[in-house]
Amino acid sequence: MRPLTEEETQTLFAKLANYTGNSLKNLIAPIDNSPNGDRYVFRLQAQRCYYVRLSLANLATSIAKDKLLSLGICLGKFTKSGKFRLHITALPILAEHARYKVWVKANGEMPFLYGGHILKAHVGRWSEDCPEHQGVVVYSMNDTPLGFGVTARSTQEARRLDPTGITVFRQADCGEYLRDEDTLFATS
């Protein structure tokens, strides 16, 4: 387990900023204002990046490298080529700080949770002035985060789209907890 290098931090933040926008800095702000206040840090362990309280990260140092399976929240993994891939486990953090959002209707929930992209017919509501290829968090109509993706069209263009046209490309959805349990976590 180690903190991220400069390069890794940049890759990660670029990725996160795609979803959170300016509120990215809230991610790393101290939790309270006391002098020794706890704050969240990023830790790398077995190619996976974890978002975790500093106090927790410090405690985890007593666990041997090969015995430590996970800590805090797993954001995703660094691929061998140095890119960063967000996992569905990062959803609570993205949802908390998301800039653009899409709400799907009840009839669109299951198709999305089974790994489908979001069609225009299924969109119940979405943030205005959303540009193309922008990271968005997907919610159900009762504000439960279900996953996240990338917009296929800007809001304006999407208006002209026919109902079966794809508006958001899925990147991760909650169904992965069931579908990809074997590959999602670092327990080889």
Binding site: R53, L59, S62, G72
Partner: protein, 679 residues
């Protein structure tokens, strides 16, 4: 002939009732109307199927006074029944097989003895009783049953064909049905007669012991399915005899001891429910006979499905509403839990609803709430869960701690840890560190916890309903190995706790097993080995008290503060929960506590983890013959030389130097060992 397919699939049969048979008939191609008519007709004699055996039995002993006359009237050969007639049809034939009247001498005497029994009592129970009495013909019965079954399946095919009939041959079908009906009517009449006969066989003496030749016959026919109805009846009767002293005096045969009855009922239970003999004995001894029967019976029915609301994400009321909208019928699991919801039926798979995937709830047995409720972790504490997969209890703890503090979720099995990590992330738990140690290593990895939950790996005798394989695959060895592991784990758990913790200092030990070996004995062991812990109230509102004495073993009085849960009393999985409070520092404290004990004892306790049978460690050491220091010296020397050679050092060249060094090494080695122990 092996056990028939139907027998393999069906498990233990439920008590048969008429409705069941109407179903069967319907399936076999009979129209609803027919079935209904038939069921009406059969109403006075509800246990239809049983009459099979009864009739046969009747036939076997027409020595009974009335029996002789009546049956001789209707007598007819069963052999004449064509092989592809259905079981039901056959049972309805006004048959009466003239079978050898040879065996069953005692039966007859019974029957004669009880002539005065009321005819009107000729209902199901009598029929069943007759079955029990008929055990002598067991072998024949089971063989016969098989024939029935084979016929039955064939009959279904036949019925399929029937369905395909065109209008052209409906006439033929009608005729056939008419004939069937006539048969049935005649049958019913015969049955009435039989019912009258039956009463003659009913007796004060309830059961028949298995005769030797029968036992042998059973052995030779081990592959045949046992006559389950009869078995069940015999179990019932034996339990009745064993119930208490008055019952025993009243019903027991003379010259037959309680032990014999017990042996028989255990044997029967093994056969009926499919337990292995050792486990059956173990579980039977845990309860009174009637309670044991209830326990075995409860293990055959599934426990209710329960989900736990994830209070990190949602509230129970909201979740219940969301699920009801999806067509789930549910209600709160009980007053004792604020987060549990019991599911009665569901139109959707509960493990794949959007709410589930969003982490609003987790499927978790009601009994698994208990240890966490007993542990009652507080916010900002450091907690250890020693065996955490699949994470139900860990996430429950996190929810109680409101995602603050720190939870070390350990599991020794990496493949199970996958599900654990998944659940933890799905439920939005942020305060866990998941590791993969053997939990016995624990105080060494990190100690100083405020609370430790040890939900120990166990034999699973409390969750047989969930995992019936326990019935057969747990042997005597498991009940030595598992308690041993549990004792080590519990000591490790105790040592990992910080006794100076302001809010905590608690250990909860729980298992999903009901045996005393894995529960009370383990706790007792820990109390003896660690005088710095004491049992405290679990804070759970229901449950049976822990045992303070069991089959001659006396446990600590405080064990009554532990709680046991049984499937037959609370309809939760069998479970054991005990809670310790640590009052002093662990090994040093405990060694200080036993200053009077010889030093060797001290060493034993430290090394306890490596010993196969810790309780008798001292004795076993003697049994091994102790150590011969001088002889060992030689081996140690040789091993050291080998090591040096491996490293490329010539041991001869350094001999003098080495000798000098050796003493030093030895000294420091032992002292090092000691210091590490005293930590």
């Amino acid at each position: 002939m092996g056990v028939s397919r139907r027998m393999k699939k069906q498990g233990t049969p439920e008590p048969l009732d008429e409705a069941h048979f109407t179903n069967l008939k319907r399936k076999a191609g009979m129209s609803v109307m027919d079935a209904r008519r038939e069921s009406e007709k059969n109403a006075p004699n509800p246990k239809r199927r049983r009459s099979n055996g009864d009739k046969r039995k009747q036939d076997e002993k027409p020595k009974t006074k009335e029996a002789k006359e009546k049956i001789s009237g209707t007598s007819k050969s069963a052999g004449s029944v064509p092989p592809h007639r259905s079981a039901i049809k056959k049972s309805k034939k006004p048959d009466a097989v003239t079978l050898p009247q040879s065996d069953e001498g005692d039966d007859d005497s019974d029957a004669v003895m009880n002539d005065e029994f009321d005819v009107s009592g000729s209902d199901t129970e009598d029929a069943g009783m007759g079955d029990a009495l008929d055990s002598g013909s067991d072998v024949y019965d089971s063989g016969d049953d098989h024939a029935h079954r084979a016929m039955f399946s064939e009959d279904e095919d036949e019925s399929d064909a029937e369905e395909k009939l065109t209008a052209a041959n409906i006439v033929g079908l009608t005729r056939k049905l008419d004939k069937e009906q006539a048969d049935q009517e005649a049958e019913a009449a015969a049955e009435l007669q039989e019912a009258a006969l039956q009463t003659n066989i009913e007796g004060e003496r309830l059961l028949l012991e298995e005769s030797d030749d029968e036992a042998e016959a059973v052995k030779t026919n081990a592959l045949l399915a046992p006559d389950l109805q009869m078995l069940r009846q015999r179990i019932n009767d034996t339990i009745r005899v064993l119930k208490d002293k008055t019952n025993f005096a009243k019903y027991a045969e003379e010259g037959r001891s309680r032990a014999e009855y017990e042996a028989q009922v255990i044997k029967d239970i093994c056969l009926y429910y499919g337990y292995n003999e050792y486990l059956c004995q173990l579980l039977f001894n845990l309860f009174s006979p009637s309670e044991a029967f209830a326990f075995f019976e409860a293990n055959e029915t599934p426990r209710p499905v329960v989900i736990r609301t994830n209070t990190i994400r949602t509230h129970r009321r909201d979740l219940a509403q969301a699920l009801i909208n999806r067509g789930v019928t549910l209600e709160p699991v009980g007053k004792w839990s604020k987060v549990g919801l019991q599911i009665f039926e569901s139109a959707v798979p509960l493990g794949a609803t959007p709410e589930y995937l969003a982490g609003h709830y987790i499927l978790q047995a009601a009994s698994s709430f208990l240890p966490v409720m007993a542990l009652a972790p507080q916010e900002h504490e450091r907690v250890l869960d020693m065996a955490s997969a699949p994470g139900g209890k860990t996430t429950h703890m996190a929810a109680l701690m409101k995602n603050t503090g720190c939870i070390f979720a350990n599991d020794s099995n990496k493949s199970r840890a996958k599900g654990l990590i998944g659940n933890i992330h799905r439920l939005g738990v942020k305060n866990t560190i998941i590791c993969n140690y053997d939990a016995r290593e624990f105080p060494k990895v990190i100690g100083g916890f405020d609370r430790v939950l040890l939900d120990a790996p166990c034999s699973g005798t409390g969750v047989i309903a969930k995992d019936p394989s326990v019935k057969t695959n747990k042997t005597e060895k498991d009940f030595i190995m598992l308690p041993h592991l549990q004792k080590q784990l519990l000591l490790a758990a105790i040592d990992s706790v910080d006794h100076t913790s302001r809010t905590g200092g608690y250990i909860v030990y729980s298992t999903c097993s009901v045996t005393v070996e894995e529960n009370e004995q383990v706790v007792q062991y820990a109390l003896l080995k660690r005088p710095n812990v004491k049992l405290v109230e679990t804070g759970l509102v229901f449950g049976v008290e822990g045992k303070t004495a069991y089959r001659g073993k006396i446990f600590d009085k405080s064990l009554s503060m532990a709680r046991r849960y049984y499937p037959h009393t609370y309809n939760v999985d069998g479970f054991f929960v005990s809670k310790f409070k640590k009052t002093g520092p662990s090994p040093t404290g405990s060694t200080a506590g036993v200053t009077t004990a010889p030093k060797r004892e001290d060493v034993d306790e430290m090394d306890v983890d490596k010993r196969p049978v810790p309780e008798t460690a001292e004795e076993s050491e003697d049994a091994f013959g102790g150590f011969d220091e001088e002889e060992d010296e030689e081996y140690i020397e040789r091993a050291k030389k080998a090591v040096m050679r491996k490293k490329g050092i010539d041991p001869k060249a350094l001999k003098g130097h080495q000798n000098k060094k050796k003493n030093g090494v030895n000294g420091s080695g032992t002292s090092g060992k000691k210091s590490s122990k005293s930590k």
